[in-house]
């Protein structure tokens, strides 16, 4: 095998390899969508963020408009503070409601934004005042069971009381 043919093959190989890396970065990964594009920050406080993770999507009307940048606990109010980085293309009204939703039963957790009608728009570093916490399934089930148990307990007590009356007579 002479040298120029070998160089050609190596060139083809390296070009293919780099093309594969670009394919993985652009087509499989999301290098050009939202990541790296500088956006502005919004802050939202929730009583409970459920399973919200870093880098979870922020969606408005189902469209991804940003990502969750950080999540921390306010040590004084014990509220979860989520910092959202929103794409500069999108602006939201000051009365926007941020809620924590789950797509599907087992799907990913995301922050949903519902814009209101306020003429004033949110700026970098502003806080979203109206928030709706995550629905924690375990709590709901727990509440349901507790209610059932309370009902059952009351019914049981009523019967006992009747029985007691019966023995008196």
């Amino acid at each position: 095998m002479n040298r120029s043919a070998m160089d050609l093959w190596v060139g083809v190989f390296v070009a293919m390899g780099i093309a594969a890396m670009l394919f993985l970065a652009l087509k499989v990964g999301n290098l050009l969508t939202l990541d790296g594009t500088p956006g502005y920050q919004l802050e939202a406080r929730f009583d409970n963020i459920g399973g919200l993770k870093l880098r979870a999507p922020v969606k408005a009307a189902g469209v991804v408009v940003g990502r969750v940048e950080s999540v921390r606990l306010d040590p004084k109010t014990y509220e979860a503070v989520a910092t959202l980085r929103i794409d500069r293309m999108y602006e939201f009204t000051r009365d926007t409601i941020a809620s924590i939703n789950t797509s599907g039963v087992l799907g990913e957790v995301y922050v949903g934004l519902d814009a209101g009608g306020d003429p004033v728009m949110l700026k970098n570093g502003d806080r979203i005042m109206k928030t709706q916490s995550a629905v924690v399934l375990e709590k709901l089930i727990g509440q349901f069971l507790f209610d059932k148990a309370a009902e059952g307990g009351k019914a049981g007590q009523g019967e006992k009381a009747k029985e007691a009356e019966g023995t008196k007579k």
Binding site: V10, F13, V14, A20, M21, L24, V28, K53, V64, V71
Partner: protein, 270 residues
């Protein structure tokens, strides 16, 4: 009686000790060998055609097996993944499953294993045979350092080839997954690519896969050239060295993969 027991015990302890010191000595030798190879590496780049030749032998000639395996692994992943995801009614997540499995784990690891058995063994056999036929000694006689002329180009050829092969493996795997998932099974094409894009991040997923493949490339190349250089100059020695290259590289890849995965993906959650 008790003297015999003590002697037997001493015998086994001595064997254990010699195994440990022997292993340590070899590890130290390999580390010094690595330093020597790195020291001679500038010459491998000064005469770049030597390294390019090794990229050709290690990389270009491994292309067929890597691309075919990548494609079949992607296709099988797609078939198996679909069967499982269908039970939960989330078969549109197939794109994420295939892409993440390939980019994070299977791409670097299987490409590394194939590379070790396809190219690593060839490098070891070549160097071992050069040593057996005293070509390395002849080079030294002519004041040509075999480390610079033979070892370093092969070492760097392997390191350059491996990440490219792993990326090609993953890319063809994703393509194979696409063929089976979208063309054969009939998942929505937009959902397949869209979910994949939403679920796979360049950082950490793709970059960590590339870091893994670079580390595997260094490990396999070092083991291959070291085993060849260290082989006994007999026919049997070369065959043993070649086998050792494949076995040790494969085990090293799997062990390194576990360690790196533990550090890289310790749950990026809150």
């Amino acid at each position: 009686m008790s003297v015999e027991v003590a002697q037997g015990l001493a015998y086994w302890l001595r064997r254990l000790g010699s195994a440990v010191t022997g292993g340590l000595a070899k590890l130290g030798y390999a580390a010094r060998f690595l330093v020597a190879v790195l020291w001679h590496s500038p010459q491998a780049f000064r005469r770049i055609h030597l390294t390019l030749r090794e990229v050709y032998f290690a990389g270009v000639l491994s292309l067929v097996i890597i691309l075919m395996s990548g494609m079949f692994v992607g296709m099988v992943l797609s078939l198996q993944g679909y069967e499982t995801l269908k039970r939960y009614g989330s078969d549109e997540q197939l794109g994420i499953l295939v892409a993440l499995a390939l980019v994070r784990e299977l791409g670097p690891v299987i490409a590394g294993l194939l590379f070790a058995s396809r190219a690593g063994s060839a490098i070891t056999a070549e160097i071992g045979l050069m040593k057996t036929t005293e070509q390395l000694a002849a080079m030294e006689m002519m004041a040509v350092d075999p480390l610079a002329r033979v070892i370093a180009p092969r070492f760097w050829g392997g390191i350059i080839s491996m990440p490219l092969l792993a990326a090609l493996f993953s890319a063809f795997g994703v393509f194979g997954g696409y063929l089976v998932g979208v063309r054969l099974i009939g998942i929505d094409e937009g959902a397949f690519w869209g979910q994949m894009k939403a679920g796979v991040d360049v950082w950490p997923d793709v970059t960590n896969g590339i870091i893994k493949s670079v580390v595997f490339g260094i490990a396999v190349s070092l083991i291959a050239v070291f085993e060849g250089y260290d082989s006994k100059p007999t026919a049997e020695g070369v065959s043993t060295a070649t086998t050792r290259t494949v076995v040790i590289s494969s085990l090293t890849i799997l062990a390194l993969d576990f360690v790196m995965t533990a550090f890289m993906f310790r749950g990026g959650g809150v």
